[in-house]
C-alpha cells in the first residue's frame, strides 16, 4: 500500500516536473526540472525494489543533465543564458504531439492484458531483469556498445577543427604539440 502511494505520488511529481520544463523561463531551471522528473522516476524504481536501476538512473541522469546544462547554455542565442527564454517552439504542434503520445502510452499501459506473476518474487529483481533482457543477447549488446563508442570517437575526430598537422607542424616533427590549452603532461 505504501509502495502504491509512493509510485502514484512520484509519478505525478515526474509529470509535473516534466511540464515545468516547458513553463520555466531559464535554461538552468528547465534542465534541473528535467532532472527532478528523472529523479522521481528513479524513486519509482526504488519503490518497485529495483535498487540498482534506481541508483544508476539517478547517477546517469544527474551527470547527463549537468553536462547538458553546460552545452545548452553555451549554444543559447543570448550569451550565458541569463536572459529569459522558452523551451517551446511550434507550441500548438508540440502540445498535440505530446498529448497524443501520452494518451496512447497511458491507454496502452492500462488496457494491455499484463501476465500475472508466476512463482515468488526473486531476491534480487535487478539480476533477473538483467538476465531476461540481456541473457541471450550479450554478444549483440557488446558489439553495439563498441560500435557506439567507435561512432562517438569518429564523430569527435570529424568535428574537431584541429588535426595533427596543426599540433605537430606540416612535417609532424614538432617535439611538443602546439595546443591552445597546454594540458598537464610533459609531452
Amino acid at each position: 500500500m505504501a509502495g502504491d502511494i509512493a509510485v502514484v505520488t512520484l509519478g505525478m511529481l515526474a509529470v509535473a516536473a516534466g511540464i515545468a520544463v516547458f513553463v520555466v523561463d531559464s535554461m538552468a531551471r528547465a534542465t534541473f526540472a528535467l532532472l527532478a522528473s528523472f529523479l522521481a522516476v528513479a524513486g519509482i524504481l526504488l519503490a518497485l525494489d529495483l535498487v540498482y536501476l534506481a541508483v544508476v538512473t539517478a547517477l546517469m541522469m544527474t551527470m547527463e543533465m549537468a553536462v547538458m546544462a553546460i552545452f545548452m547554455i553555451m549554444f543559447m542565442m543570448n550569451p550565458a543564458g541569463l536572459m529569459p527564454m522558452t523551451m517551446v517552439h511550434n507550441a500548438r504542434g508540440s502540445a498535440v504531439a505530446g498529448a497524443s503520445v501520452f494518451t496512447v502510452l497511458t491507454v496502452g499501459i492500462w488496457t494491455i492484458d499484463w501476465p500475472a506473476r508466476q512463482g515468488t518474487q526473486p531476491d534480487d529483481a535487478t539480476r533477473q531483469l538483467g538476465e531476461s533482457i540481456m541473457g541471450g543477447h550479450m554478444l549483440v549488446m557488446l558489439v553495439i556498445g563498441i560500435g557506439l563508442f567507435a561512432t562517438i570517437i569518429a564523430g569527435t575526430v570529424l568535428a574537431t577543427q584541429r588535426g595533427r598537422y596543426d599540433r605537430f607542424g606540416p612535417e609532424l616533427d614538432a617535439r611538443r604539440p602546439h595546443d591552445p590549452v597546454a594540458g598537464g603532461l610533459p609531452r
Binding site: 544527474t62 549537468a66 598537464g184
Partner: protein, 320 residues
C-alpha cells in the same frame, strides 16, 4: 569464481535498532566525522594546539549568527535548493557506510548508491555556482564540472574494483570478503584513486580550484551565514564519509584484534583522515586544465589495469 550468495546476512541498523535511532545515529556520526575532519585540517594547516582544534566549532557558531548577504537578481530557488542539497547528499552517502558493522540500509547496489550521491553533488555544486548570478561563483561551478568529468571514471573503476573482488556491491559483503586479506594489499591503486577522488568531489586540498583563491572563493564566494555553513559542512562530511568508506572498502572495515569492531573502524577512519589531510595539504592546488589531461591519459588506464589485475586474481581464486 567467488561465491555469489551473501555469506551471512547482516541486518541493517534500521532492522536492528528501529528507524529513528538508526537515522539519528547516522546523522550524528556524519556530523562528528565532518567536524573531526575539519579540526584535523585546521591543525595541519595552522599548527596544532587545542585552540586550533576548536576552530571549526567557533566558525560554525559564527556562520550561524552572521547576517546573510545576497546578490543582484539571484536564482533564489535553485540556489537555496543546491546549498541545502550539499549536506543532505553527504549524510545520505553515509547510509551505506557500516557503523558498528551495520549500514542504515543494505541493498544489492550499495557502492552505486555512494557513487550516485556524489554524482548528485555535481548538480548541487554547479547550481551553487549558478544561483547567485555572479561571475566568480559561476566560473567555480564550471571548474567543478570539468574536474568532475575527469575524476568520475577513475573513481567508478576504483569502486567497481572493490566490488569485483567481493563479488557483491553490498558494503557489508565487501567487509566480509576482506576477512583474510585487506583489499588495500591487492588494489593499492584503487585505494589511492578513491581517496584522491574523495578530495576532488569535496573540492578540497589539491582539487580546491572550484573554490580557489584566484577566483575569490569560486563557488562559495557569494555564500554567507547559514548557507556557507551548509555547503562547508557538506564538504567536510563528504570527506569524513569517504574516509569511513575507504576504511570499509580497502582496510577491512571493523576487523582487528582485541578492540571492538566499531572502535577499529573509527581508528582506521581517523587514520585515513589524517593521511588525507597531511598528504593533501602538502600538494599545491592543481589547475583543472592540467589535472583533466592527467586524469584521462594516466588515471583511467591505470585504474582499468588495476581492475584487470583484480579480475585475474578473482578468476585464480585469490578472494574465494
Amino acid at each position: 569464481m567467488p561465491d555469489m550468495t551473501t555469506p551471512e546476512t547482516v541486518a541493517t541498523s534500521v532492522a536492528a535498532w528501529g528507524l529513528l535511532p538508526a537515522v539519528a545515529l547516522v546523522v550524528a556520526v556524519a556530523l562528528a566525522l565532518g567536524l573531526v575532519f575539519a579540526a584535523l585540517d585546521r591543525v595541519v594547516v595552522a599548527g596544532g594546539d587545542a585552540n586550533a582544534m576548536a576552530g571549526p566549532s567557533r566558525t560554525v557558531v559564527r556562520w550561524l549568527v552572521k547576517q546573510r548577504r545576497t546578490t543582484l537578481a539571484p536564482d533564489r530557488l535553485l540556489w537555496r535548493v543546491a546549498t541545502g542539497a550539499v549536506p543532505v547528499l553527504a549524510v545520505l552517502s553515509m547510509a551505506v557506510v557500516p557503523i558498528a558493522g551495520r549500514t542504515l540500509w543494505s541493498t544489492s547496489a550499495d557502492l552505486v548508491w555512494f557513487n550516485a550521491m556524489e554524482a548528485l553533488l555535481w548538480a548541487a555544486v554547479w547550481l551553487v555556482g549558478w544561483g547567485p548570478n555572479a561571475v566568480h561563483a559561476l566560473v567555480g561551478g564550471y571548474r567543478f564540472l570539468a574536474q568532475g568529468l575527469a575524476y568520475e571514471l577513475p573513481l567508478m573503476f576504483a569502486l567497481i574494483t572493490a566490488g569485483l573482488a567481493a563479488g557483491s556491491l553490498r558494503t557489508t559483503d565487501v567487509v566480509a570478503a576482506q576477512a583474510d586479506l585487506w583489499f588495500v594489499v591487492t588494489m593499492p591503486v584503487a585505494f589511492v584513486v578513491f581517496l584522491a577522488s574523495a578530495a576532488a568531489f569535496a573540492f578540497w586540498g589539491p582539487f580546491a580550484a572550484p573554490a580557489g583563491a584566484d577566483i575569490a572563493g569560486g563557488v562559495v564566494s557569494e555564500l554567507s551565514g547559514v548557507e556557507r555553513l551548509l555547503v562547508e559542512a557538506g564538504r567536510a562530511i563528504f570527506l569524513g564519509a569517504s574516509a569511513a568508506m575507504g576504511a570499509t572498502l580497502f582496510l577491512g572495515g571493523g576487523s582487528g584484534p582485541w578492540l571492538p569492531d566499531a572502535l577499529w573502524h573509527l581508528l582506521k577512519t581517523v587514520l585515513l583522515m589524517g593521511l588525507m589531510v597531511v598528504a593533501g595539504r602538502r600538494v599545491p592546488v592543481l589547475r583543472p586544465d592540467r589535472y583533466v589531461e592527467a586524469a584521462w591519459v594516466v588515471l583511467v588506464p591505470v585504474t582499468l589495469l588495476q581492475a584487470l589485475v583484480v579480475a585475474v586474481l578473482v578468476l585464480s581464486g585469490m578472494y574465494a
